[in-house]
Symmetry: C2
């Protein structure tokens, strides 16, 4: 449909009227994605065509750079209409990405009450629960009746992000419970909220990391979680749609760290070539310099290699096997740590398991390797044994280090994902080479 | 609290009474996790202690092996109480993991109506929308009034997985719309459902892959999605809590494939050493054999290396840099494909971008490399240039292949995650060695 819509967009008044009619039947996100294909002028025209009741919803879903280009073209009055319709968390996301020079103009367009709240949220540290929460939630006083509560929800519910879970506060605005919409629907209208609420309510603090929030959602299957400040006062909620975005971002971050990339929030095509290169060069440089140490190991055994040059031919296989074995172990462990299946006190158990897995893999691979070398290198049992035993030792070492480093990183409050294949491979390569040359020197006395 | 509870569990009647009192204040999932620490006898005692209204909820959250051991100890009557309380999707999950011999006993415990539904769902292919859906949802006839609908919800809502979204069907049970609880609460009680419903409803088919379901939830921020059969009849819903589990499983699967592991659903500590080893050996073996080809490349240039043995010392650095550069590119691309940011028709654009990123990384690393070799290897500019130009070419090749393979895999309907670091590294190592030796031969005529 995209091309036809872009065509209508550059048409006459009749085309535009038809376009407006079609937009109403589309989902907000689908229209938001249309904006990605438009140029600056078209995006402004398309935005002004949106029905009033959809424009804020759609605006919240447009990517930051296009939001900015639209706002630059709008009048102060038009900006004010959007910003006052946006949910607080979406408004904060939008403002956070704006260049400083536009921030004042946008903030001035917001009604004073909402502006105070936005400024408050902007002060919370990045990635804290406070910075991702929204303030549109339903708060019920504990001494109201179910009937009063239902009336309140009917009156104000439309402006709230979720009415499915309502939060109950005492007269000091302290969070003391929660009540679901279905409980209210089923309850006797004359009962007090404090009688029907669930007093066993989970909450997070404004300063908690957003990973703590995600952990709670996953563990307890929540749709929303209340956020309280240092004094236990209810200040906001985080909803499942935001949590799903956070999960996507955190997963991407883990993938990036595990591939020696600097984490970046920007989508692939929105990141320029030099930014992409910058995100990659740091680690490449560090790893390249570490790998030169492995070169020096080889160079330092130059005399041994001169005596038995065939030894060089097995280096790629030994280094490859060690690298792959450590990548497997570290990935299993990093994922287990992320899903809370593994903790630091399991360290000994994990190492013992990985040593045995390493032995099982090492013996199987070793056997295949021994046979291959024996048959293809003039039935030289000694050479086959030297390579095979180095392979076995290298794999066991790789598996052990592959579980030790991520768990150790977690203990030191570092992100275990950093201790993944790239850094591990470099260390394991080093160890494999040393093992190989030591075994060779021992056997051949070279 | 765990240890104290286990202590109370082996105590006298008074201890058990106290324990029962404490359990009531805990969240279901926290009690379910307690079972992981118990032996067979304790788990049975703990389960019988649970309040009736919590036992099915908690049972659904216990891991499969412990579910089985509990069921083995229960009477037919007790089993029947649980299975008839469980939501259909949880019951299906439970039955799917049971050994065949127990399945009949469990199925016989289920009321006949529910058993028919369970048998139906068990027939859907693994990982299809049909296999993960539940049948406890609210279905409203389009010709009922809002008042009638609210009455229905009050009467039956407690047994449904979600009352927040209700699905509207025509007289033939065909899905024609949806209506949210908040709309019903705000609507005039005399209006017809067909007047207040949203007719623009998203749905999935029973045969759709669960990844399609996850995609819809992510894109549209859903809480539940209806499932229809081939004739458009509404047969079930999938809810967000199940989708979050699916996301965890799919992400784990991607991580595993990218580290050359056979995907496995089992948590780390529930997988025995030999199963773990089996999941890892296949790929290790394949990659080891491929790496021996790289060994043959080195062996085939043995004469050149004999002339200039210092060349060997740079092999680990060159192979390492190529491997890391390709891992970065493939990870960025695989993640972009998973999040639908990149599609096959972007191929040329992606390659062009990666070539430039590769050149930028290659030149920066090359410069550092040139200076280091020049200074540390007797100011030998020719040697420095040979290594550096091989490095540059290797990195550009690695970046290009790192985007080409995952996108190509996707086009061939393979999982792009398989084309990640391990397989790529082996190919890139091969190419890097060839490039290196060709450049060296060209320059040194050896």
């Amino acid at each position: 449909m995209n091309e036809r819509i872009l065509q209508l967009l550059s048409g006459d008044a009749k085309d535009l009227a038809q376009l407006r009619g079609e937009i109403v039947t589309e989902k907000s996100i689908d229209i938001a994605l249309l904006f990605e294909k438009t140029n600056k002028e078209e995006s402004l025209r398309l935005f002004r065509l949106l029905p009033k009741n959809m424009s804020a919803d759609i605006f919240a879903l447009i990517s930051a750079d296009i939001q900015q280009s639209i706002v630059e073209g709008l009048t102060d009055n038009e900006i004010s209409l959007i910003t006052n319709e946006l949910f607080v968390d979406d408004l904060v996301d939008f403002i956070e990405e704006l260049p400083p020079i536009v921030v004042t103009r946008v903030l001035n367009s917001v009604d004073v009450d909402k502006r105070l709240i936005v400024n408050e949220i902007l002060r919370y540290p990045k990635d804290s629960a406070g910075s991702v929460m929204t303030t549109e939630f339903i708060q019920l006083p504990d001494n109201h009746t179910v009937r009063q509560a239902m009336y309140d929800i009917r009156e104000t519910g439309m402006d709230k992000e979720t009415i499915y879970t309502c939060y109950v506060v005492d007269p000091d605005s302290r969070l003391i419970g929660q009540v679901n919409a279905d409980t209210l629907i089923h309850a006797d209208p004359h009962q007090l909220i404090i009688e029907v609420m669930d007093g066993n309510v989970l909450s997070v603090s404004t300063s908690d990391d957003r990973e703590v929030v995600v952990g709670l959602f996953s563990r307890y299957g929540l749709i929303a979680v209340p956020v309280v400040d240092n004094e236990g006062l209810l200040v906001g909620i985080v909803t499942i749609d935001d949590v799903m975005h956070i999960i996507d971002e955190e997963t991407t971050e883990d993938f990036e760290k595990m591939a020696a990339l600097n984490p970046s929030d920007d989508p692939y095509f929105k990141t320029g070539v030099f930014k992409q290169a910058r995100n990659r060069i740091g680690w490449l440089m560090l790893l390249m310099l570490s790998d030169t140490i492995n070169g020096s190991v080889i160079a330092s055994y130059e005399n041994s290699l001169a005596v038995l040059p065939i030894l060089v031919a097995f280096i790629p296989m030994l280094m490859g096997a060690g690298g792959n074995a450590s990548a497997q172990a570290s990935t299993v462990i990093i994922r287990g740590l992320a899903l809370d299946e593994i903790t630091f006190k399991d360290l000994a158990k994990v190492i013992w398991k990985e040593v045995r897995v390493g032995l099982a893999c090492g013996f199987t691979l070793g056997l295949a390797n021994f046979i291959r070398i024996f048959l293809m290198n003039g039935r030289d049992a000694v050479l086959s044994l030297v390579v095979t035993s180095s392979l076995l030792l290298g794999i066991v070492f790789a598996k052990t280090l592959g579980c030790l480093l991520p768990i150790g990183a977690k203990k030191l409050r570092l992100d275990p994902a950093v201790m993944a294949a790239p850094i591990l491979t470099t260390i394991v390569d080093f160890a494999t080479l040393i093992i190989y040359f030591l075994v060779a020197k021992l056997v051949y006395h070279i």
